[in-house]
């Protein structure tokens, strides 16, 4: 396993790039510090301490309220941006982006692209580390200069001199390690997992494995979002096509905003009209009072203009049998907009599905005989 880690600082801080270079503390009053910029470190501010204590230590800092929703959106955007660079990508709110580049043919190009995309997303040069696993890669990245990559060939050798407080243990457990004289990861690695398990419980065993560079943790692969929809119910049933187009355009705008925030595009578009009464059109009907039209698109649609270009053309030619009570636009299949993992494949096999679809479209337009596949038989 080869894991590249990009460290960018907590994503809460990325919400306010205008405050880069100044001491910033993110947290709610009477609660704990969620994130603190590097400029607060000399004053002793660390995430997790009480906000009042942080204010006492660094009164000149700018205090910002956390926004979990906005941070989650940034995380999704970064995940979508890195998605086509490695088979497994994981991004955490703490500002850690891991890419498992094992088996990637052009690992160097992936790392360079990851650096550029993180810089674009966050507005700051990330620190990069390349190591056999996520833990050692994160520690390597933390010791790299901004915009530079630190490579680690032997994880155990690299970890040995580092302080044991780098282990993911709580303050009490770290203090016990200190009392036991285990102040470096090398010291932790030298004792048996069962011995430390008897002292710290399950986390002790985990800590020994981490210190030995055995990397017991697996990355959780980010997957593109799957489904979204928007709908509008009419108080009075609508017959006017212009009104329907107006509502359709507004729904497309809403969906495009959501897709933009999630860094996604629609591969499958479905429009459903709920009609007041009457028989639905043959071939389009699914329920007794709804008419459906859907299509799979080859390139993900992500903007309002793209969505309305398709949906508007349907609405213009649609002939509903009865007044419409509700309009639904559903996007059942989403993927990272323009970010499929095609480059990870060799010989163009990744886009095979796209090519087959393009051939089918040509056959629809010009007849079956336009495409011919010779066979040895």
């Amino acid at each position: 396993m080869r894991v590249c880690c990009g460290l960018t600082g907590h994503l809460e801080l990325a919400r306010r790039p205008d405050l880069y270079g100044r001491p910033v503390i993110v947290g709610r009053w009477d609660e704990h510090v969620v994130a603190a910029s590097e400029e607060t470190s000399p004053f002793g501010v660390i995430p997790g301490m009480a906000l009042r204590q942080a204010e006492h230590l660094c009164p000149q800092a700018t205090f910002v309220l956390p926004d979990e929703e906005a941070t989650a959106r940034i995380r999704e955007l970064i995940s979508a941006a890195l998605y086509d660079l490695a088979p497994v990508v994981e991004v955490r709110d703490e500002g850690i982006a891991w890419l498992d580049i094992s088996g990637v043919a052009t690992a160097g190009a992936s790392i360079r692209s990851a650096r550029h995309r993180l810089l674009k997303a966050i507005g700051r040069e990330p620190r990069l580390g390349l190591a056999p696993g996520p833990f050692s890669a994160r520690l390597a990245a933390a010791r790299a200069r901004p915009g530079r990559l630190l490579r680690v060939a032997d994880a155990r050798e690299f970890l040995a001199p580092l302080p044991s407080r780098e282990l993911p243990l709580d303050a009490e457990q770290l203090e016990r390690l200190d009392l036991l004289g285990l102040r470096t990861l090398g010291a932790v690695a030298s004792i048996g997992p069962r011995e430390l398990e008897s002292q710290l419980g399950h986390k002790g065993r985990h800590a020994v494995l981490l210190a030995r560079g055995l990397e017991p943790d697996q990355l959780e692969a980010w997957r593109p979002p799957l489904f979204t929809s928007a709908h509008r119910q009419f108080v009075e049933p609508v017959e006017d096509r212009e009104a329907l187009l107006f509502v359709g355009r507004a729904l497309c705008g809403d969906l495009a905003d959501e897709l933009g925030l999630r860094g996604a595009g629609a591969k499958h578009v479905r429009v459903r009209l709920e009609v007041e009464s009457g028989e639905p059109d043959a071939g389009r009907a699914q329920g007794a009072h709804s008419e459906i039209r859907e299509s799979i698109v080859r390139h993900p649609l992500s903007s309002a203009a793209e969505l309305f270009g398709l949906i508007g053309s349907w609405i213009k030619e649609w002939q509903p049998r009865a007044p419409i009570t509700e309009l639904w636009i559903e996007l059942p299949v989403l993927e990272g907009a323009g970010r499929r993992q095609l480059r990870l494949w060799a010989g163009g096999d990744g886009s095979s599905e796209e090519v087959t679809a393009a051939m089918e479209r040509l056959q629809e337009r010009f007849g079956d005989e336009v495409i011919w596949k010779p066979s040895s038989a």
């Binding site: 550029h116 390139h299 163009g348 796209e354 679809a357 010779p374």
Partner: protein, 249 residues
């Protein structure tokens, strides 16, 4: 401030013309050449045919350009998921058989009109076909979409024409001119020809002059391991090297 304005302009282009209309250089496919393992690789200057660019094989009459293109096509069927021929009429896939192609990867688009050929080539290049062999004229207005589609997906594009029109010549990034020097006779039977292949345009590397190829027509069924015997580079004597000429269009 300037950066915000630029970002806004980029977004508006994407909204107006689609998310694929504008691609950042960092998002473009890698520019590694496709090694065709033919003497053509030595003439491109990058050790292979450029991906995402149009390569032209030109020459009047029988000069070996089609045989070389078929050799490339057969090779591509083994390396790409889709190797596609855009045929305006007259392409016989069975002429490929001596080159032992992988027929499962081969598709022939039979375009009765240049307009259909252009649309099919642009659509398939945009979709990401690995190798496209153009054997007919493409209308000028399809060359732009074809170029941009291939550039985005990294498709290897090869066009075989007797004499390219100005638009096609302009659109190509690498152009190879073939001219026949003499026939090869063996025991009273014509078995091939000697041709001069000259690089007449190269946008991907400095032009590298010319070479002499010996192209032997496939006779009977031979295994693919003998494929190199069909198209072979003739070693150029040292005194002739000084007379090699190259030009850029």
């Amino acid at each position: 401030m300037q950066e915000v304005a630029l970002e806004s302009a980029i977004n508006s282009i994407r909204v107006r013309f689609g998310s694929q209309a504008l691609t950042r250089a960092a998002e473009l496919p890698p520019s590694q050449p496709w090694s065709s393992r033919t003497p053509v690789d030595g003439l491109t200057g990058i050790a292979g045919l450029p991906r995402g660019r149009l390569a032209l094989f030109t020459g009047n009459g029988t000069c070996g350009k089609l045989t070389l293109a078929l050799a490339l096509l057969a090779n591509a069927t083994h390396e790409f998921a889709h190797a596609i021929v855009i045929d305006g009429g007259g392409f016989d896939p069975w002429s490929l058989l001596p080159f032992s192609p992988e027929l499962g990867a081969l598709t022939v688009v039979r375009a009765p009109a240049p307009e259909i050929a252009g649309e099919a080539a642009a659509a398939l290049a945009r979709a990401g076909a690995g190798f496209l062999l153009l054997m007919c004229a493409v209308p000028e207005h399809w060359l732009g979409p074809l170029e941009s589609g291939a550039s985005r997906s990294g498709t290897v594009l090869v066009a075989v024409v007797d004499a390219p029109d100005r638009a096609l010549a302009h659109a190509s990034s690498f152009s190879l001119g073939f001219s026949r020097r003499d026939w090869i006779w063996d025991r009273g039977q014509m078995v091939g020809l000697r041709v001069t292949a000259r690089c007449i345009k190269n946008r991907v590397a400095p032009p590298l002059g010319e070479t002499e190829l010996e192209i032997r027509y496939p006779l009977g069924n031979q295994p693919r391991s003998d494929y190199h015997a069909y198209v072979a580079e003739v070693p150029t004597p040292v005194e002739e090297m000084s007379r090699c000429a190259s030009a850029v269009v």
